[in-house]
Symmetry: C2
Subunit: 149 residues, 2 copies
DNA sequence: ATATTTAAGGATATATTTATCCTTTATTAT
DNA sequence: ATAATAAAGGATAAATATATCCTTAAATAT
């Protein structure tokens, strides 16, 4: 579905929402370990998520790190995809036609469309925070490791 | 959603289903032009679709080319994905966890699951032939070009 | 002021995907 | 038999995605 880059972005943002506050910032080492991703690569990706300062915030130096404000945590998952440039993902034709259009539809278009719309609302409806909560109360998990790590 | 490779495979198979019979084989040049894909690359991909001789058949030499039997045309679209090794695509976790599992679900799992199931039936339910028919009667299209080409 | 910490950014490496080209093999037509 | 045709297959190239490493800049603590 998504590139590894975007998968790491989703997991990182959810983890930052789960564990950080303005007073409790997270370092890149902790984040990468928690979400099971390559550290340097993840650093670049989180940088992208800080652009515009609407989603992830960062502070350099001692006691610095990454965090999300309560307001940012309430944003929909979609915002992560937008910052990763994957927002156009849901505009594309499933057979790879240059345009996905009702006027010149591919033979799967009309059956794919309602599914695509559900995917769009999947990311539009839920807040990053609500996903983080599911992890906090152990209804869900953000990595595939067992409790010993 | 899919790699370019798989997109070309889907379009090529649908086109072969639409235009070929055992008596009217199609050359790679015609196919690649019709589906707007790079010819040599498409040749390799169609080769994959001939493995096992269940989907696409091929004959070398003069009057040779690619075709599908009526039986093959009735197969579900899913068969194309299987031959392209994309069958596992729908087993993966949307956040990239190593396992997609009910026991250790990611925070999007339970909402993503029913959508994933619809995607699976999308490819399981419709025959390649029925997609080809939509193109034949101009209810659908297999490239983005206008009628002049 | 200086040293320490941590993210930002640049340069580069590796792997994978996408694509082309050329040779070989099978089939047909003459 | 020979030449022509068309797919099969191998080698290689180009583009993109993934990943690492090192230097720079900003913030803090001493
Ligand atoms: S045209 Fe193919 S999905 Fe819309
Ligand atoms: S665990 Fe993530 S989709 Fe199933």
């Amino acid at each position: 579905m998504f590139s590894k880059t975007t998968e790491y972005a989703l997991r990182a943002a959810i983890y930052i929402a789960q564990k950080s506050t303005a007073d409790k910032k997270l370092g890149i080492a902790e984040i990468a370990k928690a979400i099971d991703s390559p550290q340097s690569f993840t650093a670049k990706i989180i940088q992208q998520l800080t652009r515009g300062n609407t989603l992830v915030s960062s502070v350099r130096g001692p006691n610095g790190g990454f965090f999300m404000t309560e307001k940012a945590k309430r944003l929909p998952v979609r915002v992560i995809l937008d910052l990763m440039g994957e927002d156009s993902k849901f505009q594309t034709c499933i057979l790879g036609l240059k345009q996905c259009s009702e006027l010149k539809p591919c033979p799967m278009h009309f059956e794919y469309k309602p599914i695509k719309e559900q995917l769009i609302s999947l990311f539009a409806d839920r807040s990053i925070e609500s996903l983080a909560e599911d992890i906090n109360n152990e209804h869900a998990f953000i990595n595939s490791r067992n409790k010993r790590g």
